[in-house]
């Protein structure tokens, strides 16, 4: 906050005008806080305060009906020892592993096809984003019908009875497939933007050097797409760790044998169905810490790996 305007350097010339400058600064501060007041209130009340409340809840036993009882670290002990939360974390991790590489790969592939300069590409690009604009819950309901074993469209199409969402071996892959279907178009958009921003002289130079399309892709395009790739990965991982709506619609209650009991769902059911608010608060806190760690790690990785100097 170094004063850098003409007025402030002039202000130094006399004490009278320095008083004026001080007054102006005070006024500016007042204005700034007045402008910030609503958002400051909102953020404090609805984003910062809840973190404190969730910490407090995690130390108490509460079923919403009986009075709140202090429980010390009991909730932490319970959550960490009974294995259900660990299992949910594992399921979520598997979900992330199923979704992220496939959707990133498919998105990149679609983007390379879309940037060949074929007519109609922009229409297709828009088409691919359609699922992503819709509510995940509503799409979940649509897919629940499509995948339902007896009246569903998919089984009618393939002429076989497969219990996509009720078979413990298939439920998680099915849910992941629906998620990928929803998000591929979105990922594609970023890769299209990334690919079109690659300077043509680089590609031209590679062509003159005799590189074929395959080599150009691996040696030039992919490295230059790194910022895009990382962005897509970071946001993808973070949001997949919080997946709730679509799974709530597709496989309620954690699905068959609880194989789709992802973390967000576990927190929801623990809080609002089992009414074990304290334990749910512990889970929420642990998830929060985990996400912060993931974000920070990815950020580090991201900033270390993504600077390219194209000027040379």
């Amino acid at each position: 906050m170094v004063a850098d305007t003409a007025q402030s350097s002039a202000a130094r010339s006399s004490t009278a005008s320095s008083d004026a400058a001080a007054r102006r600064r005070r006024r500016e501060t007042g204005t700034a806080y007045a402008l910030l007041a609503p958002s400051l209130f909102g953020i404090t009340t609805f984003l910062v305060l809840p973190i404190l409340v969730v910490v407090w809840l995690s130390l108490n036993r509460w079923d919403l009906i009986s009075p709140v009882k202090f429980a010390g670290l009991d909730n932490f002990r319970q959550v960490l020892s009974d294995g259900q939360f660990a299992r949910s974390l594992l399921i979520t991790a598997v979900f992330v592993v199923l979704v992220i590489p496939l959707q990133t790969g498919l998105g990149l592939f679609a983007a390379t096809l879309l940037t060949r300069g074929l007519p109609g590409s922009s229409v297709l690009r828009v088409l691919y984003v359609l699922p992503w604009i819709c509510a995940p819950l509503v799409l979940g309901v649509v897919w629940r019908w499509i995948l339902s074993p007896t009246d569903g469209a998919l089984n009618a199409l393939i002429g076989r009875r497969i219990e996509w969402l009720a078979d413990p071996a298939l439920a998680l892959p099915s849910v992941a497939a629906v998620t990928i279907w929803t998000q591929v178009g979105y990922v594609t958009l970023f890769f299209v933007a990334g690919l079109t921003s690659i300077p043509t002289h680089l590609l031209e130079a590679a062509r003159i050097d005799g590189a074929n399309a395959w080599q150009t892709f691996w040696r030039i395009k992919l490295p230059l797409l790194r910022p895009t790739t990382f962005f897509v990965l970071v946001t993808g991982v973070i949001s997949s760790f919080q997946v709730f709506d679509s799974i709530y619609a597709l496989t309620p209650q954690g699905g068959p044998q609880g194989v789709t009991d992802v973390v967000a769902g576990r927190i929801y059911y623990q809080a609002f169905q089992s009414r074990q608010i304290g334990q749910a608060a512990v889970m929420a806190l642990l998830l929060f810490v985990l996400l912060v760690v993931i974000t920070v790690v990815q950020q580090r990785w991201f900033s270390r790996r993504t600077t390219y100097d194209l000027s040379t």
Partner: protein, 278 residues
């Protein structure tokens, strides 16, 4: 010659693949629309893939007339979206301007706090917010649906701040010399030149609040403040096997956004890539 032939074959293959992708993308929408236009009798007696014959709007009339009363969820959702949109844009503009153009003690720290709250996921705040709103006696009210969002979003503030910093100082100081106060500067100078980013934020806000589910799920109860996503989920759970009716509901929930999207698609596509909004 052979190179151009190869190129043409490759183009053809690319087209084929892209078309397959398009079919896979669009088919679920068409299938659900098809089912929504079928009579329950036809759905029960024929394969789910058969086209509606005859096409009937009875599922929709049933949905909007009678007891399901899908009118109310549409109205509630629209109201929530409108109020949140106005509040979020207005308050985010104010805050972003302060961060971008004013100097005051605590600016860096505060901005850092705002940014840090971006990392707080909704599933984490849902339980404490539930407890807070319940304690305040605000569960199942309109306030509960809008309050957590209406005071501005750190994300919007972040984007706007970046944008405001790029506005030439001359524009602002000229207005100041004309005697404008801060709000007048905002309204007459900053807002008009920020139309593109405001349009982007409008789309982001409308889409994400139209689609919001978890918060309405826990904080409302009963038909009065039921949003469209919630109404769809409830309908599905009450009339489980009644897929023609349920698909009519999903159609109603999807179509407005699709129309919005198709009308503004150029802008939306650009917005997504600029902001990476989720």
């Amino acid at each position: 010659m052979s190179a151009s032939l190869r190129r043409r074959v490759a183009d053809l293959a690319a087209y084929l693949l892209l078309l397959v992708g398009a079919v896979v993308t669009v088919a679920p929408f068409l299938l659900s629309l098809m089912t929504a236009l079928k009579s329950p009798q036809q759905f029960a007696s024929q394969t789910p893939l058969s086209p509606p014959a005859p096409v009937t709007l009875s599922n929709f009339t049933e949905l909007f007339g009678g007891r399901y009363d899908f009118v109310s969820p549409v109205v509630v959702t629209a109201q929530v979206v409108a109020v949140v949109l106005v509040g979020q844009l207005a308050f985010s503009v104010l805050a972003a301007y302060a961060f971008a153009r004013l100097r005051f003690p605590g600016r860096e720290v505060l901005f850092w706090v705002y940014l840090a709250t971006l990392m707080v996921p909704a599933v984490v705040t849902i339980i404490p917010l539930y407890a807070m709103f319940t304690a305040a006696g605000l569960r199942n009210t309109f306030w509960a649906l809008v309050l957590p969002q209406v005071f501005g979003s750190p994300y919007a503030i972040f984007l706007l701040r970046e944008y405001f910093r790029g506005i030439p100082e001359d524009l602002v100081s000229a207005a100041r010399l004309d005697g404008c106060n801060t709000l007048q500067v905002l309204w007459h100078v900053v807002v008009p030149v920020s139309r593109p980013i405001l349009a982007t934020l409008t789309i982001i806000t409308v889409v994400s609040h139209w689609n919001n589910f978890l918060w309405p799920l826990v904080i409302t109860s009963g038909p009065k403040w039921q949003t469209l996503t919630l109404a769809t989920a409830n309908l599905q759970s009450q009339y489980n096997g009644n897929w023609t009716l349920v698909m009519a509901a999903t159609t109603v929930a999807i179509v407005p956004l699709l129309l919005l999207f198709l009308v503004f698609q150029r802008h939306v596509v650009r917005s997504i890539t600029i902001t990476g909004f989720k």
